[in-house]
Symmetry: C3
Subunit: 152 residues, 3 copies
Amino acid sequence: MSVEEKIREFGYELKEPPKPLASYIPVIKTGNLVFTAGQIPMSGGKLLFSGKVGKDLSLEEGRKAAELCAVNCLNVIKSEIGSLDNIERIIKVTVFVNSADGFTDQPKVANGASDFLVKIFGENGKHVRSAVGVNELPVDSAVEIEMIAEVK
Amino acid sequence: MSVEEKIREFGYELKEPPKPLASYIPVIKTGNLVFTAGQIPMSGGKLLFSGKVGKDLSLEEGRKAAELCAVNCLNVIKSEIGSLDNIERIIKVTVFVNSADGFTDQPKVANGASDFLVKIFGENGKHVRSAVGVNELPVDSAVEIEMIAEVK
Amino acid sequence: MSVEEKIREFGYELKEPPKPLASYIPVIKTGNLVFTAGQIPMSGGKLLFSGKVGKDLSLEEGRKAAELCAVNCLNVIKSEIGSLDNIERIIKVTVFVNSADGFTDQPKVANGASDFLVKIFGENGKHVRSAVGVNELPVDSAVEIEMIAEVK
């Protein structure tokens, strides 16, 4: 089963990747590393999760937002390397969580992305990660995630 | 026209790069990648943009702050690689915006840096980017930017 | 004197590295670079510094928290590369400081990590760095630090 088929089993279709909100590109390859721009939980041109986790959104919604960000990271990587089967390993994920005052469960939110990556890539999906809270994110997104992957 | 001449056309003179605020170095090269330390909108030894975008500073001032951070990133890169003409591509820009509560236009602020890089480097200036809001930055700077560039 | 012996002179024992709070790995090597996950000031299974610097914690406590994060980064790197004597250089440190409103001394907090690295590695410990404030961190940690190092 291809990586893209596995992703489809979780209910995600990799269509046209979300357009950057500004004058930059969504993905770049240098050597055998691919860096993504920060991705927010857009789907079908709409932001599905906005507001602060711990106030406007539950932990579970935050997790789903992080998962969708990870899908969008993979989607822009696909646009660069053709097929996600060309990913050797996921190297790093940085997770910014739009956090209500006193919300300190950023790691549980970020697990939405990390767990998903391990489901899709197995051992090769295991990555290093930083998860931090921030007081505001672009267009009031609940989560923003950037990814570094190693390609074959 | 050299990269430095193009930068001069936008009104910036690359003099002595701003000193780090602490015990670290402003730029480092590993392989063919150059990483900068986080740069703030200093010029001539003074911080030109302080406070929170969306409260103390307008969006336009935030954009100018981001542009100046990008200039300072290039300036410290120059100190490492001799001439900015040795830059192959800009790989990544991470933009931290000192954000008032409710301010969610971080991408527009970050465009101050991204647009500038594309004006200077053309296609080779197109980079991936994350822009996030934070509640505080060093010395109350309005913006902090770090950059990764690929050298020839 | 080995790197680990130098670290011991500062009162730190590198035991079992702190477990990730979630489904990711603490360290990964790609090419000759090692990336750590974000580390918090855990020691002996306990979080030693929690709360906001500038309100719950003094600047000096923030510095010590940053130093301990740096020790933990080195500890997880050791778990990957066997001996810290295999570190060629420290490349980059990113420091997220859990910041009270109005606290803008993130660089001084981050110096707790940077100064320590230079004490341990000398010239090879000099790195680029970003230090930013954030409104919340995992489990209310005072500081979170991620590191990139180059190995021999």
